[in-house]
């Protein structure tokens, strides 16, 4: 130990076991890692990889049925696994801190922020005022502009980003020697995520604190960390630097992950994603050989039988693969071995308009208080969707992108009729659609289908997959029972699931499989238009990639038009022919994907684009940070709705006058007071460089 004085954390051969009933399962197996002082260490894995378990094991905060069944955890040379409770409390207090995944639930809802912060800072020997002063200082440190107000607030009064800043401030109290961040940005909007990441990087540098950053997102980790460990099914499969990750990852899983992650500007038809086949094994089905072997495109017989060791490469990285040397030497081509199965969309078909909205409006009334009613204050409403006009061409995909609260989901629900619109028109192949479901006849309903966000709620948990699909087929195609059953099998095939799944209940399916079934159900009626509302957002990267590819395939097979809704610009740009960007209920920019992704673009689009984490640390892209939070949709700001946060604010005109549509290119418009040429001059050319991979 004495020869390694600068090790902040050493984990040696750690195995974490969950007891379950009579048996037990190892969630983390034989993992070792070292973090030096001041080092930012990334831990990457998909759900079920054991990364959170590992983080909690290091914190000595496992659930009651979890225990460390092997190995050691040393913090600055001190063994934690055997530390008595009281001393561990001291360690928590002073040395090791956690920034959790869900800031909302990690703060006590009924205590003021200031009090919660004071608690973390107070060591008992100080006056209350003194502690509070330090708390405020701590808040300033995480760039909270008015710490007094925040300290006096309750958690629910703050936005998610703000809450996360508070938690980071809390974690930095007392100069910990190790900071663990467990998916700290996962549920945050992309612009907020970017700001938090910047903050983390800055603080880690200024504090010289060792950091363990746990995330499912390779790009985020690559941007923040000095070193990255990739975890798969409870095992560490590769340990490397970000540069090595970009240049030459050696483990097939790491490569698969990278190939599954869409980059901004990557197009399905041109440069398809290469998803990893299959699913992560369950803990009770861990293969005997290499844990990745069942999904590995280059697995040999050896791989299925013998578990490989973690080996060090000359470059200092660690990899657990029997064939890493061949990969390093370029002797095997991982990508060639995995056919993408993607057919390029038929660009020639740009026929009729399949779906059109004209000036779609949805206002939700706000209940007036008694006093307001008495004073005859006019009723107010949430302006969820304001004058949204969209067109989706036949066989084409329109991507609708925006942060949470932008109104994209409400737009979708108004279109399908789950929410009755307040105004405007919706038409399907020139058939005007009634606002509500009750006003639409079955034939129209069947031509317009939707796939929802949450795969867990997509399927009735009490029916088998076969029941679900059969019911849809009987209903929408009027098929008889036997015929419906056969067709159900075909539908499953179409979404690349084996026919045996007909008898499965949703509980037996993974999230991605459920979403496939949901898609199959939507396709039961061969819809003209399919609306996908954040339908891939909740899925793991590798699963998301395969669904994206599936959607592309289905479109070319079935000819449906898609309205693809997502907060993820990369996913949208991968699939969409056209993109519409929404902000606070309005479309602020719309146009062909290539156009929208290049300057000039709306300042909001610019901010979104700049915030997308990139694996290839795109040099030169200036990160545009938005100030403040999304304004309330009850009283949207006058003039340009984006003016309260706009980095390119001109002045009075933006506050008072609604901006005009500017024509940037044919079919590409944005809503701003700044003319296209002026904007183009302001905006970073690096964007253009960065998406040159896009073929025109």
């Amino acid at each position: 130990m004495s020869d390694e004085p600068h090790r902040a954390l050493e984990v040696e051969g750690l195995t974490v076991t969950y007891r379950r009933g009579q048996g037990s399962l190892d969630a983390v197996r034989n993992v070792s890692l070292r973090i030096a002082e001041g080092q930012a260490y990334g831990l990457v894995g998909e759900s079920g990889s054991g990364k959170s378990t590992l983080a909690l094991a290091i914190m000595q905060y496992l659930p009651e049925n979890g225990l460390i069944s092997g190995g050691a955890i040393r913090l600055a040379g001190q063994e934690l696994a055997t530390l008595p409770g009281e001393q561990m409390r001291q360690v928590w207090r002073e040395q090791i801190k956690l920034v959790p995944q869900d800031p909302g639930s990690s703060l006590n809802p009924s205590l003021r922020i200031g009090d919660q912060l004071d608690e973390a800072l107070s060591d008992g020997g100080e006056t209350r005022g003194g502690v509070r002063e330090r708390s405020l200082e701590q808040l300033r440190q995480v760039h909270i502009a008015d710490p007094e107000r925040v300290a006096a607030s309750y958690p629910h009064q703050l936005s998610g980003g703000m809450q996360q800043r508070v938690l980071i401030a809390m974690a930095l109290a007392g100069q910990p020697s190790l900071l663990i961040l467990d998916e700290p940005t996962t549920n945050l909007d992309v612009t907020t995520e970017a700001a938090i990441l910047d903050l983390v990087c800055e603080l880690v540098q200024s504090h010289q604190t060792a950091m363990l950053y746990v995330s499912h997102n390779l790009a985020v980790v690559a941007a923040v960390c000095d070193r990255i460990a990739v975890l798969y099914a409870g095992e560490l499969v590769e340990d490397l630097t970000p540069e090595q990750l970009r240049s030459q990852p050696l483990h097939p899983y790491t490569v698969g992950l990278l190939d599954s992650l869409p980059r901004v500007g990557q197009r399905a038809g041109v440069d398809p994603l290469l998803p990893i086949a299959g699913n992560m094994p369950r803990l009770d089905e861990v293969p005997a050989g290499c844990v990745f072997a069942p999904r590995c495109p280059i697995a040999l017989q050896l791989c299925h039988e013998l578990r490989p060791d973690l080996e060090a490469t000359q470059q200092g990285s660690l990899v657990r693969c029997h064939r890493w040397r061949e990969i390093q030497a370029g002797a095997v081509d991982l990508r060639a071995a995995r056919p993408a199965n993607v057919t390029a969309p038929d660009e020639s078909l740009s026929g009729k308009i399949a779906l059109e909205t004209k000036d779609l409006v949805k206002h939700f009334p706000v209940r007036r208080s008694l006093r307001e009613a008495l004073r005859r204050t006019p009723p107010r409403s949430v302006h969820a969707v304001d004058d949204v006009s969209l067109q989706v061409g036949q066989r084409r995909t329109l991507g609708l992108v925006g942060e949470s609260g932008s109104g994209k989901t409400t737009t979708a629900r108004c279109i399908v009729g789950l929410v009755e619109r307040t105004g405007g028109e919706v038409s399907l192949f020139d058939i005007a659609l009634a606002p509500g479901l009750d006003g639409r006849d079955a034939a129209v309903l069947h031509r317009l289908q939707m796939v929802f966000q949450n795969p867990e709620e997509a399927l009735n948990p009490h029916r088998t997959v076969g029941d679900v699909l059969q019911r849809s087929l009987e209903r929408m195609r009027g098929l008889g029972k036997t015929e419906a059953r056969q067709q159900a099998g075909r539908l499953l095939e179409a979404v690349r699931l084996p026919p045996s799944y007909l008898d499965h209940t949703p509980g037996q399916l993974s999230g991605g499989e459920k979403q496939r079934v949901a898609i199959a159900r939507a396709f039961a009626s061969n819809p003209d238009v399919l609306i996908l509302d954040e339908s891939v957002s909740a899925l793991d990267v590798s699963v998301q990639a395969s669904i994206l590819n599936l959607l592309t395939d289905l479109q070319s097979e079935q000819g449906s038009a898609y309205l693809f809704i997502s907060h993820d610009l990369a996913a949208v740009s991968y699939l969409a022919d056209d993109i519409a960007v929404m902000y606070l209920g309005q479309v602020v920019e719309i146009g062909p994907t290539e156009q929208v992704l290049q300057p000039p673009f709306h300042p909001y689009t610019e901010a979104l684009l700049s915030a997308v984490p990139r694996i290839d640390a795109a040099a030169g892209i200036e990160r545009i940070l938005l100030s403040g939070d999304l304004p309330s949709a009850v009283d949207p700001p006058g003039g340009c709705r984006f003016h309260t946060r706009c980095p390119r604010l001109l002045g009075e005109i933006c506050r008072t006058q609604a901006p005009p549509w500017q024509q940037a290119a044919p079919g590409h418009r944005y809503r701003c007071h700044i003319a296209p040429n002026e904007l183009a001059a302001m905006q970073s050319p690096a964007f253009r460089d960065h998406i040159t991979t896009v073929s025109p």
Partner: protein, 314 residues
């Protein structure tokens, strides 16, 4: 917040109105001739008819209701059919007694069940938890008439600690009545105990799973601070609501207990009223009970909102 209160008050009024209607209709359906009950089985038909007319029982139902409601709102709660006394003074006095009993019951039940619930919640799934859970269930499993009987036998006849009988005289103050309140209050406590304990336990277990508990623990706070400062203020919120709801039961629902101990509360008065088909009395008691329930509910909501910034700062 004021909007919240206004809404709650409106609902309270609506509830009272609806309940009064329900009660009015139900009591009208009760078999048994009021006049016969008042004048006794020996009374003659003309006397009965005269009395019915005097009581307005020959009027159509809606008319009776409206006139009753009007009088009720102006403070004239009518005259008891059976005793001939004004209902209001009688009911309010008994309501006062019921409040005393309810008050003492809550004073015993709240700390006790919270304590048991918190301990059980913190030791969830440990033997102590099971002991508390089964113990409190055993207590609640015994019907209150049996519990009362046992308590009288033990505390009154064997230990001579408390009187067997709780018939306090009118106007007795809380502290003066205390010895007589103990046994009925204990009996009522036993009924409440298991439920409140279990609810508290559930609240504690639920909150212990929350992320903020982890945050607090990982701040290095001692466990008692984590529990006392962080968990309890959230865990006890649902318990408060339930205690408030039980207040209505304590005011008007202690029918069995008040009879077993002969305590002059609303419950005993209610059995008297029902037995004698004393409509004005029944209606007044029921409304007071509902009012107590609704006010307690309102109080609980306000307290809930007061302790819960998410509602308070809405």
């Amino acid at each position: 917040m004021s909007r919240y209160i206004a809404r709650r008050l409106l609902f309270l009024l609506l509830t009272l109105l609806l309940t009064s209607m329900i009660i009015f209709v139900v009591t009208q359906w009760l078999p048994g001739d009021v006049a016969r009950v008042i004048l006794g089985r020996e009374a003659s038909e003309p006397a009965l008819a005269a009395l019915r007319a005097e009581l307005g029982l020959d009027q159509p139902l809606p008319l009776q209701y409206v006139s009753w409601l009007g009088r009720f709102l102006t403070g004239d709660w009518g005259t008891s059919y059976s005793t001939g006394e004004p209902v209001r003074a009688l009911v309010l006095e008994r309501a006062g007694n019921s409040m005393m009993l309810a008050g003492l019951t809550l004073l015993i039940a709240v700390p006790l069940s919270l304590l048991l619930g918190v301990v059980a919640g913190l030791k969830a799934d440990k033997p102590l938890d099971a002991t508390i859970s089964i113990g409190s269930l055993a207590v609640v499993g015994l019907p209150e008439f049996v519990t009362g009987l046992i308590l009288i036998e033990v505390f009154a006849f064997r230990l001579h600690l408390f009187p067997a009988n709780s018939s306090i005289r009118p106007g007795t103050g809380f502290f003066e009545a205390l010895p007589q309140l103990v046994l009925p209050a204990l009996t009522a406590t036993f009924v409440l105990l298991a439920y409140v304990t279990r609810l508290t336990r559930a609240g504690v277990v639920e909150e212990m799973r929350q992320g903020y508990v982890r945050t607090a623990t990982l701040k290095g706070l001692p466990r008692r601070t984590v529990v006392g400062r962080h968990v309890l203020r959230n865990a006890l919120l649902p318990t408060i609501t339930v205690l408030a709801i039980s207040f209505g039961w304590l005011i008007g629902g202690l029918i069995v207990i008040e009879n077993v101990f002969n305590y002059p509360g609303l419950g005993r008065l209610m059995t008297f009223a029902i037995d004698r088909r004393d409509l004005p009395l029944m209606q007044a008691i029921t409304l007071i009970t509902v009012l107590a329930f609704a006010l307690a509910n309102l109080g609980a909501d306000l307290l809930y909102a007061g302790l819960n910034p998410r509602i308070r700062l809405e």
